[in-house]
Structure formats: C-alpha cells, structure tokens
C-alpha cells in the first residue's frame, strides 16, 4: 500500500467510525462497497464531504467512471490524487 493509500484508508476508518478495522485489514484492491468493507451510499456521501474539505474538490456521481472511483481503496486514492487542488 502506498503512503497516500494509507492516508485514505485512515480517513475512511476515521470518518466512518470503523473501529473494528485497522489500516492493515484493508485490501487496497478489494471492493469498498457491498463486499469487502461493506460500505453503503450514506458512507459515500460522508466520504465525499470529507474529501471536498481535505482535498479541495467535489466528487461527482456523473463522472463517467464513478463506479470505479469508489470501487476500491486504490481506485479512490488514485482519483483523489488526480483531482486534488494545489
């Protein structure tokens, strides 16, 4: 896991109160929703809000590849890194 993926994993655990999960317990390639971490759409909203506050850009669902953005930790970290302000 890259340093930035680690940072995003920590953010997910912190924002969503996933107290029973550690960063090491997240597979960077595994699905965040449904399977894997089992997040749902409410979590996606919470994460999008914190992403906009910390990384200075708005997540959009109608990005053509939206399903890919939240598909895994690696995909999410990649999307944030590519779109972050500054």
């Amino acid at each position: 896991m890259s340093e930035f993926e680690n940072e995003i994993a920590e953010m997910i655990i912190e924002v969503l109160n996933l107290e029973d999960i550690s960063v090491d317990g997240i597979d960077a390639e595994a699905a965040l929703f449904g399977e894997g971490l089992c997040l749902d759409s409410i979590d996606a909203l919470e994460l999008a809000l914190v992403i906009s506050q910390r990384y200075g850009f708005q997540v959009k669902a109608d990005d053509a590849d939206n399903k890919n953005i939240f598909s895994s930790l690696r995909a999410l970290a990649g999307h944030i890194e590519a779109n972050r302000a500054g």
Binding site: L45, L49, Q58, K60, A61, D62
Partner: protein, 441 residues
C-alpha cells in the same frame, strides 16, 4: 370505474424532462413511452430497476400503457431482486444499467439510444388497474408489497398538488429514487398531472445536486432528505436560486431546518407520509411543530392504532408512528411505535434484527441498538454480542446476506455477558450504560 388519462397535461410542446444533455417535451416523452410499451416483454409484471429518473418515468408510463403492473423494489440489492422475481415469476426486469440479473428476463432501455419522435396520443387507463406494487424492505428482510391502483395514485397526487400548487414555472429536482413512494409521488406522478419540468437524472453528491438545480432558468424545488440536506449544508457550495426545499423520510429538527434555509436562501417544507399512505401531511419546519393533514385526509384513532382515512386509501392503512391529534387537521408526531426503527428512511423491526443476530451459529447472545445521533446525523445501529468463536467481521458477513446494508451494525461490540435482568430482558438504562462504556473504549 372512471378511467383517468395516462397524463393529465396537454402542453405537448413544453419541456417535461431535463437532463444535462437533453430536454424532452411532453410529446417526446409520450412518443418514447408508446414505442417502449410496444417493445416490452409480454409479462403481467415489470420490475422497474431503472436508475436514471428519465428512464424510470418513460418505463413507468410504458408499462402502464401496456397494462402491466410495475414492481418497485426497496433497493437494487441482488438478493432483493431475486426474491421479488421468485415471488412474481411472471415478471421481467426493465433496467438502464449493465447490472445483470441472472436467470431473469432482462429488458434494457435508455432514452438516449432510442428513436426520437413526438405524439399527442394519451391513452386512458382504467382506475382499477393495478398500477404498481411498492415494496418496503420489510421487517423479515423479505420485501412487503403495497398495492396501488391507478385511480388511487392519481387521487393521491392531486392532494399533493393541492398543497403545493405547482405550475409551469416550476422545475423539480430530487435526490430520492423514483422507486421510493416519496420520489414516485413527487417526481413521477405529480409531473404526469401538472405542467412542471423535472430533472431526469439521479443527483447524489452535493456537486451533482448543484449542477442539476442549475440546469433550468426556472427556480427549482429540491425534494430531498435530512441526510442530504445536512451533507449539502456542510459542502460549502454556492447554490443557485431555489423556489423551495422539501424534505421527507425522517423528521427534521427546527435547528437543521434553519441551517438549511440559511444555506440555500429558500424556504423549507416537510412532507409526512409512508409507503402505505403516500404523502398525507406537511409542515413548515422552522415555524411549526405540528403537521397539517392534506385536504380530505383524516386520522382515526382506534384500538389498532392510528388509521388514515382518505378516498384514495380505501383500506385505511395504519401509521407506525406515535401520533397525537391536536384537532381534525393537525397532529404532532413522536417517532416510531413499538420496536420499529428507521435508518436512512428505511424501516426495520428491532425484534426481527435481534432474532436474526441470535440465530447466527456461534452467537451466544446478542442485541441490536440504535445509537442516538448528534442532531441531523443518521442514527446507525450497533450490536453487542457474546461469542467465543466469532469475530465482529464474521457476524457482519452473515448479516450482510440477510438485511439491508443500512441496518448493518456499526460497530459490533463483543462483551462477556449482556446485562439481562431476571426476566431475560435487557433494561434500556442498562444498555445505554453499557454502550457508553463500549463507545469510550
């Protein structure tokens, strides 16, 4: 048995559905609906899974035109879809995504790839036609059907219109899915009967919502939920001019109402309703604590609970909220009765969740609880279990197969024993005490 026209608007050249790419007039929507109705598979029931509102509206019109009953699932989880197909073997899926459903007959529709045209033909639909079955997640995890006749849907939507008085100057945007009764009434049925425009997409993140609201020069009405309002208020976006905000699915506090009105510079109204009844009352959250019933809707208090009397609700559904009548038109609402809980607009029985939890092999004892959330937050459920062999993740893995994801306990705590009293019950005070210790741990 009076028939009602499929749409009660004859402004065929006016824009009905707006998307980021397109604007479809009433005549164009009708053309799409008629064409699709002729192509739909020959089955009595249509499981309408379309995610984009424009595809949903056209699919809904087409199925009605064809005389089919539309099945509206509580969510798009595969096990829910399969369970519905199991219960209604004479159905097929109408969808606009690639999400495949094994075994079922699948019909793909996307307005963007369909042939374009415009007509002024409006069919009459028998008022006793079974228009749709709206499913709730159901306390047993198995979807529960709420049958709606076409005539009753029309009459219910008229009451909604009587309260809000939408005109051709209105543009409606919603964050709620059209499969949900609230989304169906406000963004599908109401625009079928009134000269409004509606956004054809499914905006989800605050930026999606902002863009959708900006697509028309008409000031928009945003139909949303307490959750989305809170997220939007925190998103620090610059919002276009709105006509009003309308929230439903869970009561909003006065403080959250004030925050939302300030952020959007628009008035906020709330709708009270349920899948069984549709919308039946409204309030101006910032100025009113009490709810005002729609015209011709009455509440009847009898031994079985609070029943709703209205011409379009002949079976007199019972409300599952605690209600106090103030007079014939006004009431106060105090949350759910008995063990029913609500998370993110979905209802679930606590007893049923506890039963499922304790039925898991390896769980010696367990209990679900709803954690009181900070104002406006979604109150999630958590669970406390006693188990020698299972981890928290094991328990979640089993539950995930059986219940809607919003009800999954977050987190699951493990303890040595639960504070049951001599009758086997867990006093709420004991549970609150235990939780506060676990949360601080």
């Amino acid at each position: 048995m009076n028939p009602y026209p499929l749409i009660a608007r004859n402004d065929f050249d006016r824009v009905w559905i707006i998307t980021a790419e397109d604007q479809l007039t009433v005549g164009e929507v009708l053309f799409q609906a008629r064409t699709l109705s002729q192509q739909l598979p020959d089955h009595p029931c249509c499981l309408l899974l379309c995610e984009q509102r424009i595809n949903f509206i056209i699919g809904f019109l087409a199925a009605l035109w064809r005389g089919q009953t539309v099945l509206l699932p509580p969510n798009r989880l595969l096990n829910v879809t399969l369970s519905l197909l199991d219960d209604y073997p004479d159905s097929y899926c109408l969808t606009d995504t690639d999400a495949g459903v094994c075994d079922a007959e699948l019909f793909r529709y996307d307005y963007g790839t369909a042939v374009q045209g415009s007509i002024t033909e409006v069919p009459l639909i028998d008022s006793t036609q079974q228009a749709c079955l709206v499913f709730t997640s159901g306390s047993t995890g198995k979807p529960v059907a709420n049958a709606k006749l076409w005539g009753d849907l029309v009459r219910g939507a008229r009451l909604l219109q009587l309260r809000y008085g939408f005109t051709e100057k209105d543009y409606l945007v919603a964050t709620v899915p059209p499969q949900h009764m609230y989304g169906l009434e406000t963004t599908v049925l109401l625009p079928m009967m009134n000269p409004v425009s509606v956004y054809g997409g499914m905006p989800f993140f605050p930026e999606d919502i902002r863009q959708a609201l900006s697509l028309s020069s008409k000031p928009a009405t945003l139909f949303t939920t307490p959750l989305h309002l809170r997220i939007c208020v925190q998103a620090r976006l610059s919002w276009p001019e709105l006509r009003q905000l309308i929230s439903a699915t869970a009561p909003l506090s006065r403080e959250d109402g004030i925050r939302a009105e300030r952020e959007f510079c628009a008035g906020l109204g709330e709708i009270y309703g349920s899948t069984e009844t549709g919308a039946i009352a409204s309030r101006n959250t910032v100025n009113e604590q009490s709810w005002t019933l729609y015209d011709d809707v009455k509440l009847l208090f009898d031994e079985s609970g609070v029943r709703v009397l209205a011409r379009h609700l002949p079976h007199r559904p019972i409300l599952s909220d605690r209600i106090e009548a103030l007079d014939d038109e006004h009431f106060l609402m105090y949350g759910r009765t008995s063990d029913m809980m609500k998370v993110a607009g979905k209802r679930v029985s606590l007893a049923d969740l506890n039963h499922k939890l304790n039925a898991i092999q390896g769980v010696e004892d367990g209990v679900f609880m709803q954690v009181e959330a900070a104002s406006g937050d979604v109150s999630r459920l958590c669970a406390v279990i006693v188990s020698a062999e299972l981890s928290q993740a094991d328990v979640i893995n089993v539950l995930r197969q059986q219940i809607d994801p919003v009800f999954l306990p977050r987190p699951v705590f493990k303890v040595d024993t639960l504070p049951r009293n001599e009758t086997g019950k867990i006093p709420r005070s004991e549970m609150v005490k235990l939780l506060s210790i676990l949360m601080d741990r």
